[in-house]
């Protein structure tokens, strides 16, 4: 017998992924990361502008990442809330997201501390590792909330990660992976936003 509370929970939580705005945000972050990779790849380390450019880009990246929640809230206020209403995730959901983020960072730190530090080796393996992470998260979101597009992007990112790893293309492989995965997120987000705007009309009270 299906549990009505579990069903209600899934329905409430899947509504947070319904607008597709989070996909666009992830896509932008992945593409910005690619900009950083391009500078590191093609920049001349001996040049006097190399480190200032890296630092400026990092600053820009962190400013964007830090202001992203506010930008998302503003976008949701214009697109999502007038259509399906406003809701704030419960504390359990926030705790889970934080735990996943902390565990990921902790995993990377452990890998850096105890792993063999070889830049080429890391650049080579990064698409597979992050692709696997996206795949696991995608599977979780698909099974728990019934949002299938994250699973598809996760599968795409692990397959592409394996392909560029087999190709041994190092920097170029990482750049290709970032561009394609970033574009996949942007496309998925764009289509979802378009569908959402088309299928969910603005409430009369919100006009």
């Amino acid at each position: 017998m299906p549990d009505p509370m579990a069903e209600a929970r899934i329905r409430a939580q899947s509504s947070w992924y319904r607008d597709g705005l989070s996909d666009i945000l992830i896509g932008i972050i992945v593409l910005l990361q690619n900009g950083f990779t391009l500078i590191m790849h093609f920049g001349n380390r001996q040049s006097s502008w190399y480190w200032p450019v890296i630092l400026a880009y990092l600053l820009l990246f962190f400013v964007f990442s830090a202001s992203a929640p506010r930008v998302m809230a503003a976008m949701r206020e214009r697109i999502t809330y007038p259509r399906v209403g406003y809701s704030q995730p419960g504390d359990a959901q926030r705790r889970l997201s934080r735990a996943v983020a902390i565990l990921t960072i902790f995993g990377f730190i452990l890998a850096i501390c105890y792993g063999r530090w070889d830049t080429d080796h890391w650049i080579q393996g990064l698409p597979v590792v992050v692709g696997l992470l996206f795949c696991v998260v995608g599977m979780y979101v698909a099974v728990r909330y019934g949002v299938l597009r994250y699973l598809l992007i996760g599968l795409f990112s692990i397959i592409l990660g394996l392909a560029v790893d087999i190709e041994h293309s190092r920097w170029l492989g990482l750049e290709i992976w970032l561009v394609f995965v970033g574009c996949a997120f942007l496309c998925a987000g764009g289509v979802t936003v378009w569908n959402f705007v088309r299928t969910a009309p603005v409430s009369m009270d919100a006009k």
Partner: protein
């Protein structure tokens, strides 16, 4: 009749009403939500939702805050601590009683 099944007689009648149960269950899953979100999730009419929210507020289970998003008025609702505790108690009592009655029916059919 077992003790767990007898708990049905002591169920919280404010939450037991189906529409209010839907509202409480929806609010239990989020930190806060506005009127439109509740309407979408429960499929209740505006009048129905307002009157049931008022009853839940009267019982001290729901906190209602009237605010503005730009120029548009917004009604933000959230379950109070008392509301959350009551909903949890209601849920466990119902689960216990239903489990008992299903088990009883199964035993009787054997």
């Amino acid at each position: 009749m077992s003790g767990r099944l007898r708990q049905i007689a002591h169920l919280d009648r404010v939450i037991h009403e189906p529409a209010r149960l839907m509202i409480a269950a929806t609010l239990y899953l989020v930190k806060e939500a506005d009127f439109l979100y509740l309407q979408n999730q429960t499929d209740l009419t505006k009048g129905n939702l307002s009157s049931h929210l008022a009853k839940l507020e009267e019982a001290g289970y729901v906190e209602i805050e009237k605010t503005y998003r730009g120029k548009i008025p917004m009604t933000v609702c959230s379950l109070t601590k008392k509301g959350r505790a009551s909903f949890r108690a209601y849920e466990s009592a119902m689960r216990g009683a239903l489990f008992e009655s299903v088990n009883g029916a199964f035993e009787a059919s054997r």
